[in-house]
């Protein structure tokens, strides 16, 4: 269920936009559509319209939830038609930057499923509309306004340009029938791989999950605090993460395929785990064991676990494109997705962590969440949140991935 964020095209797309921008867009500022700030007028504007929601399309549970429960609710309450479009974030970036470069003011994308460095590059390049979250009643009523993940995304200020959608947190998954032990630290993981040589691996960064796993190893060995305000300088980072890279090199000979190759994506790792070829899976969706046991992909004895020092969590968000044809409609839909009813339904259907603040919910609203049976093989929400570590700054992420490629793979 984690969003995949391949970076193959992003750089190309952005440089194309910059090149094109030299010609025309720089001289052609996008006229800002002035929208009413009171929600009732937005609802009136949005009534009877269509809203498009662009995001990765490879998750059937999400597709189904959006196209049934969410679409029906929107139709009934606001007469809004929701159109879900499956598109990778890199294609969305390519499309938006092409449109920006050509000076287009009305595109086709209303809402975008986004976070991290993609949000960073979109906002820096003026591809997003905002700020808008301050006008959403549910955002104001139910979201913790002081929370780091409300204020920043990978340490980058959000400033009202995206609204929280769901929470993710890294978990490791083992088959309790296959291995009695759950390695809950980097130290134990080393013992584990020595005991089961060739039966553990992790996806190669820049895969989203693989990259997060490497960051988690860095946090476990070097601590997480020092990275929060570290400048984006590769050599500074290289020096700070040296012990962690040393550790990863030490793992290599015991890994799947002798550490010479790594799975290219987290989904390949999941398939290896499902096939019994490796003993550990890594996921950014803490409830993925429940989903995969239900689908019959994982054995019933699969069980998620965390590291004692915590694992990285982040939030994914919804943003509005700078040239969205229906900004009012997008705001109404995003507001609705932040309602306790839909967040609870989403928790049930997609098994993703909700983004609402429990303290702001009424007893009846809290009951909606308590009623959800989260399924087999998972950890309770408070256990997850207790051991949740913040993300690294977005600008450090690609640098760390480069350092991993230089110093770990094939070494």
């Amino acid at each position: 269920m984690s969003i995949r964020f391949p970076r193959v095209l992003t750089a190309a797309a952005l440089s194309a936009a910059l090149l094109a921008g030299c010609g025309s867009a720089a001289a052609d500022p996008t006229p800002e559509q002035t929208l009413p700030t009171d929600f009732d007028s937005l609802v009136e504007l949005a009534r009877g319209t269509t809203v498009t929601f662009y995001g990765w399309g490879g998750d059937d549970a999400r597709n189904q939830f959006l196209q049934t429960t969410v679409a029906d609710t929107l139709k009934e309450k606001y007469d809004i038609t929701l159109e879900v479009v499956g598109m990778d974030i890199d294609a969305i970036l390519a499309k938006l930057s092409g449109e920006k470069g050509a000076g287009q003011t009305t595109g086709t994308i209303d809402m975008i499923w986004i976070n991290g460095e993609n949000f960073y590059s979109c906002k820096e390049n003026g591809l997003l509309y905002g700020p808008f979250t301050q006008d959403l009643p549910n955002f104001n009523a139910y979201v913790d306004q002081e929370d780091t993940e409300t204020l920043t995304d990978f340490c980058y200020p959000i400033e009202g340009y995206e609204a929280p959608y769901a929470k993710a947190q890294l978990v490791l998954i083992r088959d309790s029938a296959a291995t009695p032990e759950a390695p809950t630290s980097t130290e134990e993981l080393l013992e584990f791989v020595q005991k089961y040589p060739g039966k553990v691996t992790y996806p190669a960064p820049p895969d989203f999950t693989g990259s997060a796993f490497v960051r988690n190893v860095v946090y476990d060995i070097c601590g997480w605090e020092q990275f929060q305000d570290m400048e984006a300088d590769k050599e500074t980072l290289r020096a700070a993460v040296a012990p962690a890279m040393e550790y990863l090199r030490e793992l290599n000979p015991y890994l799947w395929n002798g550490g010479e190759t790594f799975p290219a994506s987290s989904t390949q790792l999941t398939n290896l785990f499902a096939d019994g070829e490796v003993l550990l899976d890594i996921s950014y969706s803490p409830y993925s064991p429940a989903v995969n046991i239900e689908k019959g992909i994982y054995p019933d004895t699969a069980q998620a676990f965390l590291w004692d020092n915590g694992t990285i969590g982040n939030t994914n968000y919804i943003a509005i494109a700078y040239n969205a044809p229906n900004k009012a409609g997008a705001m109404v839909v995003i507001n609705e997705l932040l309602s306790p009813e839909l967040q609870a339904a989403q928790y049930e259907a997609q098994k993703v962590l909700p983004v609402l603040d429990e303290e702001k919910l009424s007893a009846e609203e809290q009951a909606l969440f308590d009623a959800v049976d989260i399924g087999e093989g998972t950890l309770p929400q408070d256990a997850l949140l207790e051991r949740r570590l913040p993300e690294m700054p977005a600008a450090l992420v690609p640098l760390l991935e480069e350092i991993w490629t230089e110093e770990v793979v094939g070494q």
């Binding site: 399309g57 059937d60 196209q67 287009q104 499902a274 019959g296």
Partner: protein, 265 residues
């Protein structure tokens, strides 16, 4: 006369190489868990079919519109290809080599670069995010194949039949329609089928130039392949291969009807 067993063996091996993976797809499409080294899935599930036939997916409409789009693109690419091939085969004109090379250009440029360049052009032309734009980009992608197939075929056919008809008093149009065109039919069929296959499997070009407003089977299938959901990926792949084969069969039947099964050579 003893029959040589080699060709039959070759056909059997080739057939197995094609059929075995397709058979595997069929098993995966209903497989739940299939851990190594089991020879047969541990459990089965109809999850894929439930998703495929869920009403919100409109799979039937998706299939029809995908086939319609690709047939249109294939027809146009074959038409343009045939005309280009005729010019290249029978006429000499300044810049002929440039045209020959230019026709191949879309496969020499990496697909994503081509798509992003065309996106900028299409935005200015107002073709981006439209069905017409997607048809045009599919035609551009298929042209290198139709041009090269049809150049060879046109050259091999020559102009003999047409000249013969002209000597007997037929108008140029009639001489072409009744002389050369039927002889070109098998070539047109292969070029058209190739163009259809190219168009039917376009992913990134459709995604970027259709802007998500034009839905095709590939657009729905590829994310499941990328996400490693083997059940849904296999099921969509089967649908993809099956529908493409059905289209080829119909095209072949139509050509057969048109030429009455005659063979020119």
């Amino acid at each position: 006369m003893r029959r040589n067993p080699l060709p039959a063996l070759a056909v059997a091996v080739a057939g197995l190489c094609i059929l075995l993976p397709v058979a595997l797809l069929a098993v995966w499409s209903v497989a739940g868990r299939w851990p190594w080294p089991e020879l047969w899935p541990e459990s089965f599930s109809l999850r894929g079919f439930q998703e495929l036939f869920a009403s919100y997916n409109h799979t039937g409409a998706l299939l029809l519109s995908s086939v319609g789009l690709s047939l249109t693109a294939a027809a146009l690419a074959t038409l343009v290809g045939a005309m280009t091939a005729r010019a290249l085969a029978f006429h000499s004109f300044p810049g002929k080599e440039l045209v020959r090379f230019g026709a191949l250009f879309p496969i020499l440029v990496p697909g994503t670069v081509l798509a992003m360049g065309l996106h900028t052009v299409f935005l200015r032309l107002g073709l981006a995010d439209t069905l017409a734009g997607v048809v045009v980009v599919h035609v551009i992608t298929a042209l290198p194949y139709t041009v090269s197939i049809l150049t060879d075929v046109t050259q091999a056919c020559g102009k003999n039949l047409e000249e013969q008809a002209a000597v007997l008093g037929a108008s140029p149009a009639r001489a072409f329609l009744h002389g050369t065109l039927p002889a070109l039919a098998p070539g047109l069929l292969s070029a058209g089928s190739m163009a259809f296959a190219i168009s039917y499997s376009q992913y990134f070009t459709t995604l970027l130039l259709g802007g998500g407003q034009v839905r095709t089977l590939s657009l729905v299938m590829v994310p499941y392949i990328q996400s490693g959901d083997r059940t849904l990926a296999s099921l969509y792949a089967l649908l993809f291969v099956g529908s493409a084969l059905a289209v080829f069969a119909v095209l072949e039947g139509l050509i057969h009807l048109w030429t009455g099964g005659r063979k020119w050579n």
